[in-house]
């Protein structure tokens, strides 16, 4: 018991300067609030507290000594944190935990408690030493940060949900518009066919058929656009190939061979319809004139890149045709004007035998 009474000696130090242990003097004088408890006494009471602890809690030494530390707890103190301290004491290890504590006047402060056992030479626990630090500002700052963070997260979540809804609405709208465009293109085709049926003059029927082919070409452009994942660019290479197959297929000409050297070639979607119509004019023209009067042969189609430009070349091996004769038809006018619209260039050349038409245009900026 003698050793435990040593604390009373250090208590006396307060009054009798120069006596005892300089470490004890340091503990008394430090600004860090500290207490020592005695687990060998009933309910592990505080046996020592320094001035800083009294100032922090607002209690006098007489009110502190002999009490268990729980007298600082109050209704808002987290029981789980208190349980951590209790377990540490029972198991004899140290603990570092933030506790909400109450001063004598009822005000609260956040206490960064560090508690550790003090063992003797044999390893037996003699005391518990606890230091306290008022971290109210840090904890409150952290709480504000957490609240702000939660607020921001909620807001972000709400905005994300809004955007998701907007995107969904946009997608539904796009599908609806798509559907109407498809329906209208179908109806336009049907109307033209019905009209063509009632006309006896083969020249007029041929003109209506040309119109039908143009509408069909636009329909193919649209079908390819809405079936593609990417709505900003359009694969004119893929389109040229399927259009060439369609045009030869619908002409019923099994004697025209198709020589394909095509690869994917992306252009801006805004140019898809114009380029589609240009290709339709050139392809149908090649079939009608290059392979006129049942003359068989080969239609060659190249799509790719030449000198940094998108390039499509359509060649027939027919009789060839002077360029001046092309300018009379609406088809030639369409080509001339549409080519300008998409900043493309079109060139007719001799294929010896036959004619080559080469269209060059800027490639899409996006790869």
């Amino acid at each position: 018991m003698k050793q435990r009474d040593d604390w009373h000696l250090t208590d006396a130090l307060d009054y009798e300067h120069g006596r005892g242990d300089p470490f004890a003097a340091a503990v008394r004088a430090t600004r860090m609030p500290m207490v020592i408890t005695d687990p060998h006494q009933d309910d592990n009471p505080i046996v020592f507290c320094n001035v800083a602890f009294q100032e922090l809690t607002g209690y006098d030494r007489e009110e502190i000594i002999g009490k268990n530390c729980r007298f600082l707890q109050g209704p808002e103190t987290d029981p789980a944190s208190v349980a951590l301290v209790r377990t540490a004491i029972e198991q004899g290890h140290d603990i570092d935990v933030d506790l909400l504590n109450y001063r004598k006047d009822g005000s609260i402060f956040w206490n960064a408690l560090y508690l550790s056992p003090v063992r003797d030479a044999a390893g037996a626990i003699r005391f518990f030493f606890a230091s306290q630090l008022n971290v109210t500002e840090r904890v409150e700052a952290q709480q504000i940060i957490n609240q702000q963070k939660a607020l921001v997260e909620r807001e972000v979540e709400r905005r994300t949900a809004d955007l998701r809804d907007a995107l969904e609405a946009k997608t539904i709208l796009l599908h609806e518009v798509d559907h109407r465009v498809k329906n209208n293109l179908t109806m336009i085709g049907s109307l033209l066919r019905l009209q063509a049926r009632s006309i006896d003059d083969p020249a007029i029927v041929a003109k209506l058929d040309n119109m039908l082919e143009r509408v069909d070409a636009l329909a193919v452009v649209h079908r390819q656009l809405y079936q593609s994942e990417d709505i900003a660019t359009f694969d004119i290479g893929l389109f040229a190939e399927s259009l060439a197959r369609d045009v030869i297929g619908s002409s019923g000409r099994v004697d025209i061979k198709l020589a394909l050297r095509t690869r994917s070639l992306m252009v801006d979607s805004a140019h898809a319809s114009a380029l589609g119509l240009i290709l339709n004019e050139i392809l149908t023209n090649a079939i009608k004139h290059g392979f006129a009067d049942g003359r068989s042969g080969t239609l060659a189609l190249f799509t790719g890149e030449e000198r940094g430009q998108g390039t499509i070349r359509i060649c027939d091996d027919g009789p060839g045709m002077p360029a001046t004769r092309r300018t009379k038809s609406i088809g030639a006018a369409l080509i001339t004007r549409l080519v300008r619209q998409v900043q493309a260039q079109v060139k007719w050349s001799d294929n010896a035998p036959g004619t080559c038409v080469t269209i060059t245009f800027p490639k899409s900026e996006t790869p």
């Binding site: 559907h179 329906n183 179908t186 109806m187 649209h222 399927s242 619908s250």
Partner: protein
Amino acid sequence: MAAPMDVLIVEDEMIIAMDMEALIVDCGHEVVGAAVSLQEVEALPADLNPQLALVDLHLAQGSNGFEVCEHIKERWPEALIVFMTANVSKIPKDYSGAHGVIAKPFSHAGVVSALRYLSEGVFDPPPSVPRPSSLETSEHLRQRWRKD
């Protein structure tokens, strides 16, 4: 030209139905009925026996092509059912028991070659011509024509 088929058209858009009728007649087949809804298909005369039904998905009187497909399968189990729609993606993998689909907007050539392919399949399967790109067919139709 293959033998003429008896064709049923189920389409609520009159202009498209008129065009289809003309195309079918031009190809030498016969249009035995035209309906705009499930209700009209149900009301068709009892002696009708179509070999091919061309069915739009969106129909009048709140009905749809899938309902018509069920009805046709029950009433004329032998008939081929081909959807004609701008919403190909709405058709399930098993075609709900139908046999094919022609995507709208369709071209004259596309419908003509699809009709030729189908009529060859009906009268002398499998068809001698390759399947045109305008017509997608179901797995069970390919099975059916293989077995025959």
